[in-house]
Symmetry: none
Subunit: 141 residues, 2 copies
DNA sequence: AGATGAATCACCCTTTCGGGTGAAGGCTAT
DNA sequence: ATAGCCTTCACCCGAAAGGGTGATTCATCT
């Protein structure tokens, strides 16, 4: 943490120095102002993007259980049908394919088909990965 | 998607117009240049942060339960060792046993042993059930 | 009426999981 | 040093999961 602050400080100091230098050049010579403005703009756009990402990357917090709101549009976006969603829910509860089949009164093969389609739509290779993805996408609590 | 591009385009056009206006003021009057430089810097820092966030927000969603607090005593209560906990964490991320083995630089058989022990301690029959149980027990976020 | 997409099921085949058992090396506490 | 736990790894075997393909039924849309 201390090191992070230090790095940020040094980076900021360098940037300010550079800015001052640019201003100096601006006074002495009468070169194209657009050029300097452009440099400053690009520089600070990059700085802004960097700072923005640094501050939020690892800490993007999305609440799981408490205020989960079911959003059908998200399912439609991925082309996930109702039946597939039911399978997904039971999957996330830790049920095996056979148990899901029994619960929904269909055959094991049907559940396999549904789960295969789910994996395609969620870009997952395994059921655990599918569950993880589904939670990230706010499909399930 | 088209709307997004349109919005970005309009925003960019407004910004460029504003920049041109600033340049014009810079030529006509001889006010403090630092002032304009400052405005440009702040403006583009915000722009950069905004663009950076917009471009990545959809892709870097990390699920974190805010009211999760790592509690080692809970692990001890169940007799779960550090190594087993590491395996549990990676399991919850959707990794296969082979991937976990590669990540921890041990053999597949070792991971199998760890996971088997985990299932016993968590009273789970499957990895998905173990993950579910672990979340219920507040072992993982 | 034909097209489309869903839900259902089957068969085959490969990979992954998981259970059971055994065992060796290392660390720790008694 | 001896017992206990953790970590590591191996082998065998059966169960579960997953991929691929194809087929049927049914409702909806055009």
């Amino acid at each position: 943490m201390k090191r992070t602050i230090l790095i940020y400080g040094i980076a900021l100091a360098i940037l300010i120095s550079f800015l001052k230098f640019l201003e100096y050049r601006l006074f002495v010579r009468d070169l194209a102002i657009e050029f300097y403005v452009g440099i400053i703009a690009v520089m600070f756009t990059i700085l802004g993007a960097w700072v923005g990402l640094k501050l939020t990357s690892r800490k993007t917090i999305i609440i799981t259980n408490p205020n989960f709101k079911f959003d059908e549009s998200r399912l439609e976006k991925l082309g996930i049908s109702k039946r597939e969603y039911e399978v997904l829910e039971l999957m996330a509860k830790g049920l095996s394919n056979q148990e899901i089949a029994d619960k929904l009164f269909v055959s094991l093969n049907t559940i396999k088909t549904h789960s295969s389609n789910l994996f395609l739509k969620l870009e997952a290779k395994r059921r655990t990965q599918a569950i993880q993805r589904a939670k990230e996408l706010q499909l399930i609590p």
